[in-house]
């Protein structure tokens, strides 16, 4: 499709916005003549304006608009009027393709109100039904709650959801000379010379479970100080107390710029730094965008494979514990993972250069140390640098990477690498695949009965509507499957998202979507069954030989 106007609704936070850069760049590459507009919340307008591939930034002033909806002090009339004004913006009209990168229902409603010709992501149909459209968006929704077997970095998923072009695009952020001058001024005022001999700390995080203790940051500051480095603490105004405690515990060997930087100056401060040491935050992606190597400390539910900075040479550390990373809804009393990542290890990784990094990391115990890599086709991977006892099942992740690429056809098929999982897991795997096949067969029978009834010249409406309820049985079967066969749950979860995204308003559309879903389902079962995988491998080999 040759789009002339593409709108991307990006109601996300700073980190996600920066990570959407390669996706936006790939859209631009696929539709070089298209005008690319992004819609963001007011708080992140500055970040969006610094994405060089974006032509227009439309700001949705949520901080101004939402209070108008307050039950007591609000003004619904003005809220209505402002919504119509917003939707009247010419930059949001005549939209060929719209991508909704946000997950929320309100973003889907807003997208529907723009009346695009084509919409992908979470959307509302004309009749109001909320669905997720686009194979990779369905995939993205299927891993929202359970990411254990997700082999892709967030940036990769977005790339696949977009144009699917196989080129590598780095994270980008536009910086001006004024940003750099402002950063230099700030640093000088804080007594730091902007000569690259400083390390930036980002000690805050979205929750305490993701936060490396401030005392550790303070000890790290003391150690780095002995090597002649200055330390700069950054963060939002709410993180001031955290910065103060680090400065106090490190005996003033760090300075704070917390609350003093906007996106431009923060990025410029990062640009001039030796390293960034950070929890899993937006700042780490900002550093990647300006080319500064980071040491990411991924604690609590933060998983390196999902959200490590997209780029080459960043170091990401996780605790070497069977519970790490934990689930989003898990609660923890001990925070053992925080203590596994030692100050000494982080210090040594900070001091290592490109040549000595692998050697330094190899000796570290109690944690998993990875180096990020992005190849020429934009494929992201984590290189394991030490011998950890626990960690992701990379073999299974590899399997799934090829499986999804095959099934959702974003990349050229590489079924030759599609091997069954580890031998010890095979019986359970086979059982899970068989169970999926059984559900598929009953779903096919059900769809067949439905088609039969629908095709009758005088269809029995009561029977038809009772048959339509059969979808719920399939849904329940898949839900049970996801619980019973965790290793195969990514497949059942994906099918579940597809199932709830089937259009229900018009029977013909319903049947079309169901047929398409069962086609994907059949392909998935074929790919999952070891025998099929072998057959595909053999066939590929024959083709290769020929």
């Amino acid at each position: 499709m040759n789009a002339e106007h593409i709108v991307v609704v990006n109601f996300t936070r700073m980190g996600d916005l920066v990570q959407s850069g390669p996706f936006l760049r790939s859209l631009k590459a696929a539709h070089p003549r298209a005008r690319l507009t992004t819609v963001v919340f007011n708080a992140f307008a500055d970040v969006a304006r610094r994405l060089p591939m974006v032509d227009d930034v439309v700001v949705f002033d949520v901080d101004r608009w939402v209070p108008l909806l307050d039950a007591g002090r609000g003004d619904l009339q003005s809220a209505y009027a402002e919504a119509t004004d917003f939707l009247g913006d010419s930059r949001l009209s005549d939209v060929d393709v719209l991508y909704n990168l946000a997950h929320t229902p309100q973003s889907a409603t807003l997208c529907a109100l723009m009346r695009p010709r084509q919409a992908l992501g979470r959307i509302r149909l004309d009749d109001g039904q909320m669905i997720v459209r686009g194979e990779w968006f369905n995939y993205l929704f299927s891993i929202m709650d359970e990411r254990t077997f997700n082999p892709f970095n967030l940036v990769e998923i977005c790339l696949r959801a977009g144009s699917g072009s196989g080129a590598a695009h780095a994270l980008e952020l536009r910086l001006s000379d004024e940003d750099r001058r402002a950063a230099a001024r700030l640093l000088l005022e804080a007594g730091i010379r902007p000569d690259g001999r400083y390390v930036v700390f980002q000690p805050g995080a979205s929750s305490r479970s993701r936060q490396w203790p401030p005392a550790y940051f303070a000890q790290l500051a003391s150690l780095l100080h002995t090597r002649g480095f200055a330390m700069v603490v950054v963060g939002s105004p709410a993180e001031k107390p955290l910065a103060e405690s680090i400065i106090s515990l490190s005996h003033q060997q760090a300075v704070s710029l917390v609350g003093q930087t906007d996106v431009g100056t923060l990025a410029a401060v990062l640009e001039g730094a030796h390293r960034l040491v950070s929890n899993d935050t937006g700042t780490i992606h900002l550093a990647a965008a300006v080319g500064t190597p980071s040491i990411g400390i991924y604690l609590g539910p933060a998983a390196a494979k999902d959200t490590a900075p997209y780029g080459n040479g960043h170091v990401v550390i996780e605790a070497d514990l069977p519970c790490a990373p934990c689930g989003y809804r898990d609660t923890c009393q001990t925070f053992s993972c925080h203590r596994r990542v030692t100050v000494d290890a982080v210090f040594r990784l900070c001091m290592a250069n490109e040549q000595s990094l692998d050697e330094t990391a190899r000796t570290l115990a109690g944690m998993r140390v990875y180096r990020t890599q992005v190849d020429g086709r934009g494929e992201f991977s984590l290189k394991t640098l030490n011998d950890a006892v626990t960690g992701p099942d990379f073999a299974l992740l590899d399997f799934y990477r090829i499986f999804w690429d095959n099934l959702l056809k974003a990349k050229p098929a590489r079924a030759d690498r599609l091997n069954a999982p580890r031998a010890e897991a095979r019986p359970a795997w086979r059982q899970g695949a068989e169970s999926l096949r059984t559900i598929l067969e009953s779903a096919e029978r059900w769809l067949f009965a439905l088609l039969e009834e629908a095709r009758k010249p005088a269809a029995d409406v009561r029977r038809l509507s009772s048959l339509l309820q059969g979808r719920i049985a399939v849904q329940n079967d898949l839900r049970r499957h996801a619980e019973n066969f965790p290793q195969l749950s990514p497949v059942s979860r994906y099918l579940l998202v597809r199932l709830v995204s089937v259009r229900t308003g018009v029977l013909r559309e319903h049947l079309e979507d169901m047929s398409s879903l069962l086609e994907t389902y059949e392909n998935a079962v074929a790919l999952l069954t070891t025998a099929s995988a072998v057959r595909i491998t053999e066939r590929r080999e024959h083709v290769a030989t020929a």
């Binding site: 619904l76 009339q77 919504a83 119509t84 109001g128 308003g505």
Partner: protein, 612 residues
Amino acid sequence: MNAVDAIERYLADSLSRCAVAEAGDLPTERARDGQPTLTSRGFRLHSAVNPMAEADQQLAEITDELRTAIRKADGGDFTILIFGPGLGYLLRSLQALLQEEHVECSVRVVCVEADPEVAKKALQLRVWESADVPVTWIVGNEALRSLSDMVSGPHFCITVTSGFRLNKESYEPLMASLMGRVAAERPMRILVPTPLYGGSLPTALHCAEAFREIGHQVELLDFSEYYGLFRLADSVTHDARHTRALQNLLTTFLAETVVARALDWRADLVWAVAQSPLLPPALQELRHEGIHSALWFVEDFRIFSYWRELAPYFDAVFTIQRGEFHDALRSLGVRNVMYLPCAANPRVHTPPVLTEEDQRQFGADVSFVGAGYHNRQSLFARLSLPGMKIWGNDWPKDCAVFSLVQENGRRVSTEETAKIYGASKINLNLHSSPHHEEVNPHGDFVNPRTFEIAACGAFQLVDHRAELGELFAAGDELAVFRSGREIAPLVKHYLTHEEERRDMAERARQRVLREHTYVHRMQTALRFCEERMPRLAQRQRGPSYVSTLKAAAADDAELLEFLSGFPEDQEITLDEIVSRIKVGSGTLSRAEGIFLLMKEFRDWGREKGVIQ
């Protein structure tokens, strides 16, 4: 201009002029500071020390509210009505206030005086100034009837306590009619949670009906449906502690239900009656959320003591007893306390149509309807009135009068009760007491039955109560006994004087219709709430959201079409609008989409704690 002309120019119409012309002269008295003051029918109308200071103080109490009302008039015409002005000291204070303030409205003051003699004296003495603000007096009951025609547009009512009390019966219906108009213009959203059972359950229903009749929006939370669940706690265990714990859980659940509904519906006021399931945490939450709450405690405070725990959390407490009870409430920190006697609902309590069968079943020389409290059992056993019928439940089978109890002491419906009243020559009404052998000599409040029998046009013989005299004329509207000994001679007399009985019953009924209906009570209560709760008075409802949107969206055909399905005269919330949007059946209009968007972002804002 001679003195007569000077008086006449203040008078609103010829009826007022006639009333003043025919009025007698009252003697002028002097307050300690030398200013004139007045006594009418034995009541002093102004302070005997410093009438001007008294008026200044009274005005100061309502100045803020008055300012707000004037501001809202937004520069247009504005009328201030003074009910029972006496000699007009408050008018003088008001003139001073209006001169001090820069008022952009065109204000006029109307003094409403039912007593021509008082008005005549006021107009002769004229303690107020001739200022820019036009002042009109409307005098005498004849002229007062046209008051509501004289007042149009925004207005504010001030009652001068002593003067108002003297002719309350004349002023109250006028204020009610003006208020009814206000209600229609600015309806409140009143949430009425009912008790699960008991005598105050029908009271809650009557209150809700009255609020509706006045023109407010009412939502009834009828908790009587939960009575079965409440009783279940009784039947599952013999351990009283368990029963209590289970019932407390249910009460907590229902109290939270009230809060949830009040928030969701954006109620202005939660109106509870005795036994409505509300608890301090829920009431605190309502207060925190800016929703007012009021309690009408229609029970004997000496017998039920739970008001101590609850009353401080209500913004206003209405009682059927005063004196000692009010002192106790104030000592608990309850600031807004008002005496509000029981009432009748003329739609339910109305003269019944009796068939021959009804007459046979319910008819009697003397009847009593009510539960078998100790004093009733004891007194009725001693009375030995032949042909007396007792109706109602909770009469022990072994009590001396059980032979008089009809149909095995089954519960009687409201409709049957009206029939019993109508079919009986004399309805005996003895206020209950668990502590006395007959009449409670210290009984104060008047029970609902007194009003209900009267409203049914039936004759009653009722025991003396301290508050009865202010509500009914003893011996003229109903017959009163002070002890059991007085009953038999009174019964004998009235059984043989049918016409007297009929006339008294009719007068009592007229009195109820004039003064003692739930509509009267709820008007009084809401007026008090508005006086004491500025937020309630200032509620800015104005024209409904739907009608303003319609006006603003004249060129948005789609929006207009969507809104055409909503009533214009009612306040409607975002949730109510969205609940009408049908997802999955036909294409959503842009207007529907925007409302959905507004609700989704509203929910999101609430989840984030950014908005309420």
